[in-house]
Symmetry: C2
Amino acid sequence: MSLSHALLGLLAVEPRSGYELTKAFERDLGRYAWQAGHTSIYPELNKLADRGLVEVTHEGARGSRTYGVTATGREELRTWLMTPQRQGKVRNEQVLRMFLLSSLEPADALAVLRTIAEHTDASATELRTVREEYADVPLTGAEGFGQLAAEYGLRQYEAVRDWARWAITQLEKA
Amino acid sequence: MSLSHALLGLLAVEPRSGYELTKAFERDLGRYAWQAGHTSIYPELNKLADRGLVEVTHEGARGSRTYGVTATGREELRTWLMTPQRQGKVRNEQVLRMFLLSSLEPADALAVLRTIAEHTDASATELRTVREEYADVPLTGAEGFGQLAAEYGLRQYEAVRDWARWAITQLEKA
DNA sequence: CGCTGACATGTCAACAGTGACATGTGAGAA
DNA sequence: TTCTCACATGTCACTGTTGACATGTCAGCG
């Protein structure tokens, strides 16, 4: 399952509590890569702890538990990231919508494409400012994470926007 | 659920059997947008038929049933595609791997990035030849579907490749 | 004519993920 | 001090998805 590796990866960068992990999924990670709610995160943390891949490193206020990755966990994560990535699971509702555009009347398809182009352009602009904040932090470590993510998201949005614009001109030509 | 709309969309472009739909999911659709196996497709087709959104238009050899979209189904699909797309569900194992790169030693991260760059570049090259085949078919209708998909996939791969190359130079600088 | 392999559809148990519900804590504001 | 809200973790029923298993058909080949 990918959720376990996502948690392992986040904890490997920096120890966190289940609550903080939930927040992380609400930001970049859940936006572009893999979304998960606290209802799946907490049980998964317990399973990982049972398997000895993570451990509670600190207990704070309000019953919070901060988890860290064990040596075994770090090894498991490394193996997963380094092994030849076979065709992974993909499930993206936005992309699905784009693929189904051909089933609409050209006029309707154009309308949808225009809103896609607008939305992705707005998101790209937004991310460009986020990127500035990371301008001179090191790539590895807790901050580099966000930097790679922001850059990835930005390029992703720009690609979709450009595709939508291309599709619009193609449709208008016809 | 998105699967029902995916089926509706595919059938709206062109009537197909469950078997043919399964093949479609093994190609572009399952690769970039939404994957599904025959074990979820057949039951879903029956549910859609019960709800009157699709209907059997032809029964062929070996018990095959070709489905088409009803007027109601087409309306349902149109509504779904045209309504303001809230933040849809995203789940992409490849992207997840990229996000977790920061948790690796720089040397390991570089190795992974290099294979990503190679793989995506190869896929882009492959799709570029696929695109040629669509060079002068109309955008709407059964073929336009593949054309939009190919173009989308190509731009996606190129964006990821360029991002990986960018990340490599960033890491090497550090 | 028998074999093989793609065609074609299905069930079912196990598992993953979501949303609703539940419970309690501590900080800061009024 | 009381209230509110973010913090913090959890269960559970329901739904969606997968993989293993099951069954049968037709075309082409030797």
